[in-house]
């Protein structure tokens, strides 16, 4: 019995290891030129999958609808490139609107994801509906039309990917029924179907076989000549089809020019190192031979990088490709978000019990998160060779990092935990918002000509984002001030209507921080705006043009200046200042990306749906907060003032009575 069980166990082990999936992550290190930038295939895979699937990893669904494992982006890409048929049944395409499914005539999916097989059945419908929708005016389209266009483009991208290496796959078009012909051409024995690449590689042999053929008299051909001619014609047709599509895998570097896809090598000469390399990798993948796969990728990579002379400016980007892979793996901002969350939770726990340990834990988590975020920014700067902020997504990351630093600084000054709170909240909220703007796939983009100036990106953009950070942090502290003030106001009662010295001191400190940070925000926003004006003057000849983004920055400057001057003229008190700082966040959000919703002007470089809705919701929440807290504080303090007055009156009457007595 025991031996039988052992044998069965061994057999099971052996059998399962045969079916072990190959880990294609090595594939991710090949560099591809896409959307104007050189990036690793890993990023390309993630961005493409995000575009099709709205997730950067692919969940597999089993027959019964339950989960069946997960493919990461590179694994999915490898399957699409090397064994596309396997992916036809995967629920790859996200369709958000069930009406779109109805329009196409397919069954609605609960989880909103559809497979290529389903869409292939209705492809003609999809294509014609999408083309008709695209001929409509953009404001004549309803959400279904927009989604049809999006889904159609996604399906086409998917098809391009499946075709990208199709020339390596055996096809019935290149069939050679007679083994002697195959042997003469030098093709691998034992098969009747060959791939385009294999037939192409027979090159001169095929040509010489056809030399004596009289093209005008097909009747005189032998069977051999007929099958050679059929092969040549299939080759010709396939080549024409392949060369009319631009190809999507631009992996062959060309100095000073756009990179080429593999099929550029078809007629480039006898040696076809890239194609040979790809064929090897494919075979290794299909055989599940991990070692051969990895070494094949490594040698292909060597071949590809050797195409660039070492002093070529693009070679520098090749060097940053492995850094980008590490960055992808690390996903610093994702981890930082959780660290901030736990830091805030620790702080909250510390308010209840275990004060000191929780404080230090919170500080540690916050600092780790912040360092991770800053490292992430640094890596992005290295990869793109640009200052830290080049698009809207990066502004949030940067401001979050500044929020962390300011919180840290405040904590070092005060050491009461408020700095940790402020830093954690600011950084967390900024990262959360940034997520909404990173949905387009690749967040590292190239810049259009007029924005392409590292100097101004480093000065104007950084300064103004520092200003945004300052005003936002001031607003966060403003919230804390108002809550503090409300707490103390709630504590007043008839027997002790005055605030205690500690309470007064606490409020003064918090208020000083609001004021100080707001002044910092004002200064940097102002300087940033002026630098923007100088950039505009250098670039297109006018310092100020009432452009929406310029106006947005101006609004922030005006608001902060109005608050400070109002305080100077004693028109508002500390509560008014704090409330003003809170409203300042609203003004900043409007200037930051509310402007982009208008879609006007040179600064309309970021747009995501749903943002408008969230912005309005946020403004409503702030309005409610202020409307609730401020009148309450005023009322409670007015009541306390009356108590103080009646106490003073009572003391007065007592004194006069005593004097009279």
């Amino acid at each position: 019995m025991k031996t039988t069980r052992l044998i069965i166990a061994l057999a099971a082990l052996v059998l399962t290891s045969f079916g072990e999936p190959l880990d294609p992550s090595a594939l991710g290190q090949i560099a591809i030129q896409h959307t104007g930038r050189i990036k690793p295939l890993q990023t390309f895979a993630q961005a493409t999958l995000l575009q099709l699937n709205a997730r950067s990893s692919h969940r597999l669904v089993a027959e019964d609808g339950g989960g069946d494992g997960k493919l990461d982006a590179t694994e999915w890409l490898a399957q699409v490139l090397f064994e596309p048929e396997r992916t036809f049944s995967y629920k790859t395409f996200r369709i958000n609107n069930p009406l779109t499914a109805d329009a196409l005539g397919i069954e609605r999916e609960e989880k909103f994801r559809y497979s290529f097989a389903e869409l292939r059945d209705v492809f003609e419908t999809l294509e014609s509906l999408a083309q008709k929708a695209s001929r409509l005016e953009s404001d004549e389209r309803d959400p279904v039309d927009t989604e049809l266009i999006r889904v159609y483009n996604n399906v086409r991208t998917y098809l391009h990917l499946t075709d990208a290496l199709s020339f390596l796959a055996p096809s019935p078009r290149f069939s050679v029924p007679a083994p002697e012909i195959a042997a003469e051409l030098g093709l691998a024995p034992g098969r009747s179907e060959y791939s385009f690449y294999e037939v192409l590689a027979t090159g001169p042999k095929l040509a010489s076989g056809l030399r004596s053929v009289d093209l005008a008299a097909p009747a005189t051909w032998s069977e051999e000549e007929a099958s050679l001619f059929a092969l040549a014609r299939s080759l010709h047709e396939a080549n024409r089809m392949l060369s009319t599509t631009a190809g999507i895998l631009h992996i062959i570097p060309v100095p000073g020019e756009p990179w080429r896809p593999p099929h550029a090598e078809f007629f480039a000469g006898e040696e076809r190192p890239v194609l040979t390399g790809l064929a090897l990798i494919r075979e290794a993948y299909l055989r599940r031979d991990q070692a051969a796969f990895d070494s094949g990728v490594a040698s292909l990579n060597a071949v590809l990088s050797s195409q660039l002379p070492p002093d070529d400016e693009q070679a520098r980007y090749l060097q940053s490709v492995p850094v980008e892979q590490i960055y992808n793996q690390l996903d610093p901002f994702y981890s930082a978000k959780f660290l901030y969350l736990f830091s805030l939770l620790a702080l909250a726990t510390g308010a209840l019990f275990l004060r000191r340990p929780c404080y230090w834990l919170s500080a540690l988590l916050l600092v780790t998160g912040g360092v991770l975020q800053i490292v992430g920014i640094g890596m992005r700067m290295y990869i793109t060779s640009r200052p830290p902020i080049t698009n809207l997504y990066e502004t949030f990351i940067f401001v979050g990092a500044i929020g962390f630093l300011m919180g840290l600084l405040l904590e070092l000054i005060q050491r009461k935990g408020m700095g940790l709170l402020v830093g954690g909240i600011s950084a967390l909220i900024m990262l959360a918002v940034s997520g909404k703007f990173g949905q387009d796939g690749d967040t590292m983009e190239v810049l259009q000509a007029v924005l392409d100036s590292n100097f101004w990106l480093a000065t104007h953009v950084v300064t103004i984002n520092l200003g945004y950070a300052g005003c936002c942090v001031a607003g966060v502290i403003g919230h804390i001030y108002l809550v503090q003030r409300l707490r103390y106001a709630l504590r007043r009662n008839a027997s002790r209507p005055q605030p205690t010295d500690d309470e007064r001191k606490g409020l003064t400190e918090t208020y000083a921080m609001v004021f100080g940070v707001l002044a910092f925000g004002l200064i940097f926003t102002f300087v940033g705006t002026v630098l923007g004006g100088i950039w505009a003057d250098q670039s297109w000849g006018r310092f100020w043009g009432w452009d929406p983004k310029e106006n947005g920055a101006l609004l922030i400057v005006l608001w902060c200046a109005a608050l400070i001057h109002a305080r100077l003229g004693k028109m508002i008190g500390q509560v008014g200042m704090a409330a003003g700082a809170v409203l300042g966040i609203v003004v900043v959000m409007m200037a930051w990306f509310g402007i982009n919703l208008l879609g006007v002007g040179l600064h309309s470089y970021g747009f995501t749906s749903g943002v408008a809705r969230n912005l309005v919701a946020y403004c409503a929440i702030e309005a409610l907060f202020l409307l609730a807290v401020v009148p309450l504080v005023w009322h409670l303090e007015w009541r306390a003032a009356r108590w103080i007055k009646s106490q003073a009156d009572a003391a007065d009457t007592k004194r006069t009575a005593k004097a009279q007595a």
Binding site: R135, E137, S138
Partner: protein
């Protein structure tokens, strides 16, 4: 200060402004205008010593939809003028190079038909337009402005056709309602565009211009009509560009006069000057005319040019070598070798 308050001042200023504003005078400006125009490529003046250039319509063939008429035939870059009937004007124009790309041209046309779009809207608009491949395998982008305007304002249907190294614009202008009715016909016309090749059997490989880069020279990539930019590596004082222009590239005599003017020299008798210039045998095709402008520049370190003009059947290649006289003299051998290595592959 006592008798003259600020109100007096304001009142006087106001009256003055009113007086100035109400005067009706005709203002006329006079100025001296200095303008050196660029010579547009034209076929109407044949270059010296060459047979008149073949009409362009031999390059493209198309099928006019039923009911459409041809109104005029080839004239410089315009291959044909036609009409679809009621009050429409159509044309097919062929231009060398990529003519600025889709965006710039669509933007220009949008302005001509009063369709106002921001840059983003324009990009979306272009992305939504139909693309097809014509009978001759040329990619075509069909732009329909007639649906972007209200009913009867003047509008246009236009198509950008990608020919090898050239672009063709097919345009139909008229009232929007008329154009909407004709859009299917217009599409059919564009879909019928094919090239008129003498040997229709095998796919004719369009010949590419090739040359041997002289030793030690660096080469920069092609851009539109410019096939290459070459520089002697050890000698940065000058530059050599190889440009391909359709047809005669503007007329040889006109070009030579223009080049001389760029060197601040006036050629008394350009025809004689050209006749004096040597010819070099290229590796394939006709000989290259070497226009030597060095004699027009008296100073050794003053700028001058050597230009190789290679007139092919459908295009003219200019190998323009510019720099100081001493630079050109030093590198003249290499330049001559470059011109001799020109060939069509």
């Amino acid at each position: 200060m006592h008798y003259f308050s600020i109100w007096h001042f304001i009142g006087l200023t106001f009256l003055l402004l009113v007086a100035v504003g109400c005067s009706e005078q005709v203002e006329r400006r006079t100025y001296q205008e200095i303008h050196v125009a660029v010579s547009a490529p034209s076929v109407t003046d044949p270059p010296v010593g060459q047979a008149p250039v073949v009409a362009k319509s031999a390059e493209l063939v198309w099928a006019l939809p039923p009911g459409w008429q041809e109104k005029a035939s080839a004239q410089s870059m315009r291959l044909v003028t036609f009409s679809s009937g009621a009050d429409t004007d159509g044309s097919i124009v062929v231009l060398p190079g990529d003519v600025g790309g889709e965006f710039a041209n669509v933007q220009r046309w949008a302005g001509q038909v009063s369709v106002e779009m921001s840059d983003d809207e324009l990009v979306t608009f272009i992305a939504e337009q139909e693309r097809l491949t014509s009978a001759g395998g040329f990619p075509v982008l069909l732009i329909d402005f007639s649906r972007a305007v209200e009913d009867d304002s003047p509008s246009m249907l236009v198509a950008i056709v990608e020919l090898p190294q050239k672009r063709a614009f097919v345009k139909l202008m008229g009232a929007a309602t008329v154009l909407r009715a004709e859009s299917a016909n217009f599409r059919a016309l564009c879909a019928s565009l094919a090239s008129h090749m003498p040997s229709a059997e095998e796919p004719a490989e369009k010949g590419t211009i090739a040359w041997d880069v002289p030793e030690g020279w660096s080469i920069e990539a092609a851009q539109g009509m410019r096939l290459a930019t070459l520089r002697p590596a050890a000698d940065p004082d000058g530059l050599c560009t190889i440009i391909a222009l359709g047809g005669a590239g503007g007329g040889l005599e006109q070009n030579v006069v223009r080049w001389a003017r760029q060197l601040k020299a006036e050629l008394e008798k350009p025809a004689e000057f050209i006749a004096r210039q040597p010819k070099l045998d290229a590796r394939s095709g006709p000989p290259v005319l070497l226009v030597d402008l060095l004699e027009l520049q008296p100073k050794q370190d003053g700028p001058s040019m050597l230009i190789g003009v290679w007139t092919l059947e459908e295009q003219t290649i200019f190998v323009k070598f510019s720099g100081s006289v001493s630079f050109l003299t030093r590198n003249r051998q290499a330049f001559r070798a470059l011109c001799r290595s020109l060939r069509v592959e």
